[in-house]
Amino acid sequence: MAEILIKSVNKNFGDVKALSNFNLQVNDKEFISLVGPSGCGKSTTLNLIAGLEDITEGEIFIDGKLINQTLPGDRDIAMVFQTYALYPHKTVEQNIGFSLKVRGYKPDIISKKVLDVMNKLDLISLLKRKPKELSGGQRQRVALGRALVREPKLFLLDEPLSNLDSQLRVAMRAEMKILFDKIQGTVIYVTHDQSEAMTMSDRVVIMDKGVIQQIGKPLSVYNNPNNLFVAGFLGNPQMNFIEIIVDIKENNINFIFEESSYILPINNNLPKRIKDNIANFKNKMIIGVRPEDIQLCLKNIENYPIKGIIKLIEPIGSSFYVHIETNSKRIVSIVDTDFCGNIGDCVAILFKNYKIHLFDLNNNKNVTIN
């Protein structure tokens, strides 16, 4: 397996900057995900590593060897495409064994390796079928088999699950994770699905407009987003953002909303990340709270500073998504299924103080992380 180093890579398509100053180190046997909205440059990054696109500026190393000028076929990588890209005129067996044939392996070695991979992926019954005779899930397995058979240094997976239905996607997600854990492969995985990135990866790279926004372990990034984009991108439903005025008193921080003021006592319960950064607080900021960090109270609501009217309750089985309208903003909260509020009810909104984030209005940076 391999270590990948991407150093100050830029990629332009004419006047359009697809990738700006991209720096990333992927460790040996690491499963790393590039995640971001469409057009953020994640597939371009993969194509640059694969050699399918030329690098405008910068360097890419695999195991310390500069590969900018190396042909894609000589980089010892395998790629699984979003559209599978199987050879339609070849059988499953020929599709999987083709790369070995091109590399001049002997037929008996090819058939042994192909059978091995087909057994691993439970494809043995489909040996002689052509891609058009396979279901979406089966085609996806064949595409995976084609990558696995060569035992490459690096696997590049470009949204391989995005064309499957949601149930199959979840099942394949788990299967793929188990498979890559077993073979100890170095994997760069591109997805726009945050749940795939969070569940499968050792680390995630969040990208937007060709720029890396944050790199880190999935939960660490989720709990400590660098900026407004990362905070909003990770999490479903997304984090609630409310513009506030911050008034710092001796023992309290007052967050003044349009209609009321929410007091955050500066005491030992206040997390260090907030306490240490009070000096960076500005007058106008954005407060960010995840839906699961908002509690709703139906009784004695007059004792609480922030209130709202329930506009919508979405039951999703394990919990409810409750949409509450305050004077200035719509807030979403995730509550247990024993919540007994109804649409039109007035509720008090409580934040888990240790979970709140404050973002600078000018540069969108999270000022409550170290």
């Binding site: 076929g73 559209t83 599978y84 890209a85 005129h89 091109v102 058009k132």
Partner: protein
């Protein structure tokens, strides 16, 4: 839905007219070939002859060197088709890959097309001189080179569309699998453009099989092709309609056989299953 008699009758009239326009020349050719000479020259013409003869066919088949001329036509057409389609497909594959800048690509494509824009007669005399100096007049090779050259623009433009329609991920997968440019062409792209190859081959074969101008100019005896032989039935002294139409009718047969053979490759959806649509 209301049945509209006017619309339906208009549609049928239109279709029958179109079919008639396409069928009639072949019908007239064939019936003339089986008419006695006196019936063939009748006015008003006899559309459905009451008496028929195969004498014209016998005369044509018995005529001197006819087998050689047929062999010439057949080998020249087959080889021109083969070289034209292979070379044209290679050029089209390269031009479909965006290795060249947009301007250079477009420039090349238009330049290739220009060969087909002017009438072939324009280059006839200089071309003849070149071929004579190369000692290629009245040779099969000379005519194969000529026909291959003339079909290339058509093949390139037609095959370009087929190559551009292939999902680019299939080509990228082949690159990652370690295929060379040649392997990508022969192992992946060419088998996937079989319908295009079949269509192009049929048209190229027909072009070479029926080409008259350059064949008459560049051949005299050894490499003479059937269209030139047909023209020989017409002179200032005689006009042998019967033999002319009999040979022309026979000339249709190989084209039909070739077209029926190539037709099985004219199937759509060859890339179905390659990529998720």
């Amino acid at each position: 839905m209301k049945f509209n008699y006017f619309q339906v009758s208009f549609k049928y009239t239109f279709l029958i007219t179109i079919i008639f326009i396409f069928i009639f020349p072949t019908f007239w050719l064939f019936t003339t070939s089986i008419k006695f000479e006196i019936d063939a020259l009748q006015f008003p013409p006899i559309f459905f002859p009451e008496r028929i003869t195969i004498q014209n066919y016998i005369k044509v088949i018995d005529s001197e060197n006819i087998f050689n001329y047929f062999t010439n036509s057949f080998s020249i057409s087959i080889l021109s088709t083969f070289f034209g389609v292979i070379l044209g497909s290679m050029a089209a594959f390269s031009l479909s890959k965006y290795y060249l800048s947009f301007r250079i690509r477009q420039g090349l494509l238009i330049w290739i097309l220009i060969i087909r824009i002017f009438p072939p007669i324009v280059t006839a005399i200089p071309y003849f001189v070149i071929m004579r100096n190369l000692k290629l007049t009245d040779t099969q090779l000379g005519l194969i080179i000529t026909h291959t050259t003339f079909v290339l623009p058509f093949v390139i433009w037609l095959m370009l569309g087929f190559f551009q329609d292939l999902p680019k991920e299939i080509d990228q997968a082949a690159i990652i699998d370690g295929c060379s440019f040649k392997q990508r062409f022969f192992h992946i792209s060419l088998p996937l453009t079989l319908p295009g190859l079949a269509t192009t081959s049929i048209f190229t074969f027909i072009y070479s099989w029926t080409e008259f101008l350059y064949a008459s100019m560049l051949t005299s005896r050894n490499a003479k092709t059937l269209p030139v032989v047909i023209a020989g039935f017409m002179s200032d002294k005689f006009l042998r309609w019967g033999e002319m139409t009999a040979l022309a009718s026979l000339m249709i047969v190989p084209v039909l056989i070739f077209a029926f053979w190539a037709q099985k490759y004219l199937i759509s959806g060859l890339t179905f299953g390659a990529v998720k649509e």
